[in-house]
Symmetry: C2
Subunit: 362 residues, 2 copies
């Protein structure tokens, strides 16, 4: 598997991207990486490192997308940026996937523009794993589409369900829709219509889910528009950080508290490991012709390494085919996906019983 | 000040509502409370308690709204419910405010229907305080309006700013708009248009805010539609709970960890106090003719007591007049509020400089 890595993308790039790449080729025998970015800078940093030379190469790109850039501007004016050249390698079949911790909006727009949407997909979406009390859930869409139609949410659910199933090995993952109440009737215009579509689908739809329950692990796949998804992601990140900072402040007010903290450190560390985004290895953009993994801007070399590991697995299981098949199965089976004006459809949830999406995949 | 308390509303009602009422009249000399609900049940519970008889009375209501009820159904069929009778007391000027920990949707709908919107208000909104690293911020709308227009978000900002200013004594609180990026151009259709209106207003608008920054205290008033607001509220609640449960599990894996937890207990307790919703005393529905405070369904007697304390203060400062004045000032001063098709307005933020909303209030 050849992976194109945007060496210049991320808050700590190219240091951590290069380190992550070196660690990856040293660790995983079946991975080759093309570091895309400023050749001279990358070459200099690689000089002191030891790694299998045949599986780590450099592709020069003269430009870097900075965080203030808009996707439109970057696409038009940065035609030799590291992210664009990396995506081109996938388009031209020189690499099987692209990984970037840079400007996620630009990475998404570039992947969409150059790789195009997969057949049957209306809107590709970002699928991000997040920790729960019991394990993890998949949040989709985590930020690719800020304004959605009900049919988009149904597609996110189908893609997310197929992805979760492939990655976690669970046949019919529980799918839920973020809303402001558990009752079927609760929600805004978008979620109320999406609810009907999800209920009529052959997914294992368990209904609406409230924010307070998603971290309890009540659902495997949590569906929402990208505005809600991104806000969910960022609130969680911010709140977890603030809780620990507040606790630390309280602790530093007393010696006993400090001693307590010292004794609890292994517990804190283990907790952090369980909830650290770096363990989750980036989030794929599902529904495009190709594999594009978005990493957190603050990624460490370990986060990059995990992203490369996950990317390798995704390509191996042929995640794109799994998702296309899932969408085509749904579309071909008298489903709302093929019906014009799907927004107003109300069908019995019994219609598609026994046609498990996941079971029909292989 | 006479407050009508929905004695039957809330997960632990009428036990905690009655206890909260008794504690309040014992503590605050200027508060009188009318307990609204099943007279026999309330009288029985009051028998063992000691309190000033002249400031705690009962008004019988034969029905209770349960949590599964829809607002429409409750309004139509539960005409003698505790929440409805309590709101009627405000409508008929027998009480100055209503407090309820029951079905918030029904409390809102009943208040709106019976008390009506205040002059100039398009959509009343719930304003909820939440903790930050530095103090607290006000979230508006916390759940009253699931589908909003840009002009609604502007009104939420004006009402929230006036409320924050009155409660916290800060002249021009920093107002921010929840979005998925700090840059002006980031957001969905709704927030992008609302951004323009906020920028053109005379509020102290500091721009977009991301979920990760709201708990750092980057803004005093955080504006969003009710779907986002309610989700924010519930994610925060759920995540905080899960973090503590996960930590506890880690701790219980080792004796040293348990000892550490024991030593850190005062810090945990102090943290909990700082972030406990019970300390915040409920959230008002701003923009109606009357004062209606919504409490958390899980309210303890302390939460009820704090809600009564805050309600008393709000009525004393005449919060409704402050809010009406703020809206009228904004509407009267060449503002987007008076312009038809406000959604598409783009004005220079300099237009209204020097016309501070808050400064013009008295």
């Amino acid at each position: 598997m050849i992976i194109a890595l945007d060496a210049m993308g991320g808050d700590n790039a190219p240091k951590v991207t290069i380190e992550g790449a070196v660690e990856s080729v040293n660790r995983y025998n079946d991975v080759s990486i093309i570091l895309v970015g400023d050749e001279e800078v990358i070459r200099k940093r690689l000089r002191s490192k030891s790694y299998p030379k045949d599986r780590l190469s450099i592709r020069h790109a003269s430009q870097v997308v900075d965080m203030q850039e808009t996707p439109t501007r970057a696409l038009r004016h940065k035609r030799d940026s590291s992210i664009r050249v990396a995506v081109e390698l996938v388009r031209d079949a020189e690499a099987g996937a692209v990984v970037s911790a840079g400007h996620s909006g630009v990475a998404l727009a570039t992947s969409l523009t150059l790789l195009k949407k997969a057949p049957g997909v209306d809107r590709p979406a970002i699928a991000a794993f997040m920790p729960t009390l019991k394990g993890r859930f998949l949040l989709i869409d985590a930020g690719a589409n800020v304004d959605c139609k009900p049919i988009n949410l149904l597609q996110f659910a189908i893609m997310g369900s197929a992805y979760y199933s492939a990655v976690m090995g669970i046949l019919a993952p529980k799918v839920a829709l973020i809303s402001i109440g558990e009752e079927d009737s609760k929600g805004n215009d978008l979620t109320k219509e999406a609810f009907k579509l999800l209920k009529a689908s052959n997914l294992n739809f368990v209904g609406n889910i409230e924010g307070k329950d998603i971290f309890l692990g009540a659902a495997d796949v949590v569906v929402c528009d990208g505005f809600i998804g991104n806000t969910t992601l960022k609130i969680s990140e911010g709140l977890a950080e603030v809780i620990f900072r507040m606790l630390k402040e309280e602790i530093s007010n007393s010696y006993v508290g400090k001693l307590g903290y010292f004794l609890m450190k292994p517990a804190f560390r283990s907790f952090k490991k369980n909830t650290d985004y770096a363990e989750y290895g980036g989030a794929p953009l599902l529904g495009i012709n190709g594999t594009c993994i978005i990493c957190h801007g603050r990624s460490s070399s370990k986060a990059i390494r995990n992203a490369i590991k996950v990317t390798n697995q995704l390509v191996k299981v042929n995640i794109n085919k799994i998702i296309s098949d899932a969408l085509l199965t749904a579309a071909g089976s008298d489903s709302p996906l093929t019906v014009a004006g799907a927004d107003s459809i109300e069908r019995s949830s019994n219609d598609m019983q026994g046609q498990g999406l996941i079971e029909g995949q292989d």
